[in-house]
Amino acid sequence: MAPAPEVVVVAVTDQKKTSQTLLALGAAALAIPGIVTKAEAAAPVAEAALDYKFSAYREADLDSDKLAGGSASRFEIDSHLFRYVSPLGSDMDVAVDFAFEKMSGASPWFVLPGNNGPVQVMSGASIEEERTDLQVSLNRFVGKQLTVSALAGLSTENDYDAVNVGASVDYEIPDSQRTLSAGFGYSDDSLEPTDGRLLPDRVDTAEKTSFNMYVAATQIINARTVLQGSLSYASHDGFLSDPYKKFWVVDQSNALMDSRPDQREPLSLEFKLRHFVPATDSALHFDYRYFEDDWDIASHTTEMAWYQNLANGWQLVPSFRYYTQTQAYFYAPYFLSERGDGYGSSDYRLSPYGAISFRLKLSKDWGPVAANLEWESYRASADYSLDKVDVENPALVDFDILTFGVHVKL
């Protein structure tokens, strides 16, 4: 290196003793790889890692005053989740996700008019089901600005099979603080409902296809804030009814099979904000989604989380989610007479309601190994709805999820 005309002097900084606490925090910041915002040159993950999670999902029993028949105890799901992430060659990385779930419990069947509002008839026998899901995604980093991803997955349950594929691109505009993304997904589902061949009004087999696409823009606002806006569109075609649900028609004194249009087109607009607070060593997450579809359903989802880093690799994350939706145009708790178009559903998921959910996550990082424990409590009610609800569906669900996870660097 030859002497050059210009000499740049770096400011001399103070030489304080290394604080043990800060060392530990530094380690924590490095340990958990994730899908990081494109703040550094886009690159594959540096190290392979394995994650395992066990989660117990429990739905609360139906209130006895809302139950007209069947079992009051609802769904339980025990899940085992595995995730493996690894660099692949010099410019790729791969993620493999595997889930195995065991489900059991009764589910809402149809709704009857009652003396104090509608009451729910549940399915009698406890359903026992298993679900396995495998998803593989591949990211390729082309040059410094472009990331191309492809994914494929397979999902099976006792009564259905699904395959899905998807692809996306992220492009960081050179010398800017903006990344543009676009992607699509396609899924093909085959249903073969339990007892479909025994029950005359239950469908034997059915098909459903879904296509979705999105565009997104990510903008770095300042050294501590990043914002993402996205727009997505989906199209679902085929059998979109619930083969296990019925709706009550009063003038026929009969329950008819849940029947929905065979097409649905949702649109959603989403904003996500991430803001770092150096003074408290914490990160604020704020997400908002507006959703609407051609079934007249519109919803607002707001999520806030506070990631608080603590000493010695501990982290505490409280979060809150608020959800509110309007009803599908062919929904009613029960029908006085059949609709002219033949559609009808008493599914609580198509009813007007709101839901609040609290979550608390505690994690500890030892460097090569990390562990976390998370609890979520979800409560749905017509009272939480943004719009006034005249009649609450009796089957609105409350659930709790307890999750334990370990992360191992390989």
Binding site: G26, L30, A46, D175
Partner: protein, 175 residues
């Protein structure tokens, strides 16, 4: 659908970002001085007066590497560079790493896990990356014996040290 797309693009157009100047290939890199993060001998805390001066590397092939502990690819580049440094240091090759961490303790922790034997200096004000024109993390500038920039290495992926080794071997042979 088209309505929402219009809003989306409008939102995009409403903002813009700036440009930075950069050191180009063939240009002579500026000389610089700066405080050591770690002394050349691994593990010892440098005295407060210890300053690195690029003039001491006059006439050598130098790899100036800008890095930070939070940068993912730096976990690949630092160990790779350490190997290259040990291989070529006797033949007039040097690595100068310029750490850009906000908190130097994070950098020290990183080096504790992935030790290097080449000099690491610390630039909390971010003056050097400005002058060199660092465009991503990590970015490195390979200087020939005349101090000219011969190669700019942005990012670092596994296996890239092979090409880098060839390039360095070639520059060392130059008079």
């Amino acid at each position: 659908m088209t309505f929402y797309l219009k809003i989306f693009w409008l939102t995009l157009l409403l903002t813009a970002a700036g440009q930075t100047l950069a050191l180009k290939l063939g240009e002579v890199a500026p000389a610089f001085t700066g405080p050591y993060l770690l002394a050349v001998e691994q593990g010892t805390e440098p005295s407060s007066a210890a300053e690195f001066d690029s003039a001491t590397l006059s006439g050598q092939v130098v790899y100036v590497d800008f890095w930070a502990s939070w940068c993912g690819p730096c976990r690949v580049s630092l160990p790779a560079l350490n190997n290259i440094y040990q291989e070529f240091s006797a033949q007039g090759f040097n690595v100068v790493a310029i750490n850009l961490n906000r908190d130097k303790n994070d950098a020290l922790e990183f080096l504790n896990e992935r030790p290097v034997v080449y000099p690491v200096i610390y630039d909390v004000q971010g003056q050097l990356p400005e002058v060199f024109g660092v465009k991503g993390m990590p970015t490195a500038f390979l200087l020939d014996r005349e101090g000219r920039v011969r190669h700019i290495h942005e990012g670092f992926r596994p296996g890239e040290e092979v090409k880098l080794r060839e390039l360095i071997a070639q520059l060392i042979k130059e008079p």
